[in-house]
Symmetry: C2
Subunit: 117 residues, 2 copies
């Protein structure tokens, strides 16, 4: 069997101009997805999906990552069989200045008042 073409391994992402505020807010409105975003924001490197310890099934995890990718919040690229994830901070900051920081700050404040998450 021949190797799959490189193009088949690329995941579709919205361009910067295709990113919609409602999609970004919807993506961030889920606690599991917000946890992913929080952890990506805290580290300079790309993180593999397997890095994240999420309180949901593997298929639900895959769904959450797809929502984050399709809304333009994260970029996913294949490194071999692993999907590596990074925040599209430049795009989000260009479109919606301060929004990501504001949401993460709000999330941190809520975490202090509602330790159950």
């Amino acid at each position: 069997m021949s190797e799959p073409k490189a193009e088949a391994r690329r995941l579709p992402h919205p361009t910067r101009l295709e990113i919609r505020l409602e999609g970004v807010l919807h993506a961030l409105a889920d606690p599991v997805r917000l946890q992913v975003v929080r952890e990506l924001a805290a580290r300079p490197d790309e993180l593999a999906c397997s890095f994240f310890e999420l309180p949901v099934s593997k298929s639900t995890t895959t769904y959450h990552f797809r929502v984050l990718r399709e809304s333009g919040v994260i970029r996913q690229t294949y490194h071999g069989t692993a999907k590596m994830n990074s925040l599209r901070e430049d795009d989000l900051e260009a479109l919606f200045p301060g929004l990501l920081g504001c949401v993460l700050t709000a999330d941190a404040r809520q975490g202090r008042h509602h330790p159950e998450g």
Copy 2:
């Protein structure tokens, strides 16, 4: 038939401590609800539900207002048979500083680039 008791005309609202970030983000993630929030933010007074010209049915409008109320974004009070609406800006600013302003700014920027809404 006797008058309904005043208590029966009050609508349930979350207390400030019960307001959750994910609920607020979910509420704001819908363009119709964001339009309501935008219009409330632009005016100092309470606005009746009938004030808003929304591109959806009456029952959908009622649903959207309920989502906004139950998430803690708006306060609704009866004045006679009309429901009057106001933003819970104090609560939101205390819990999530700058979030509302950030989202409204992002929405305004998107409106300039995507005039279809």
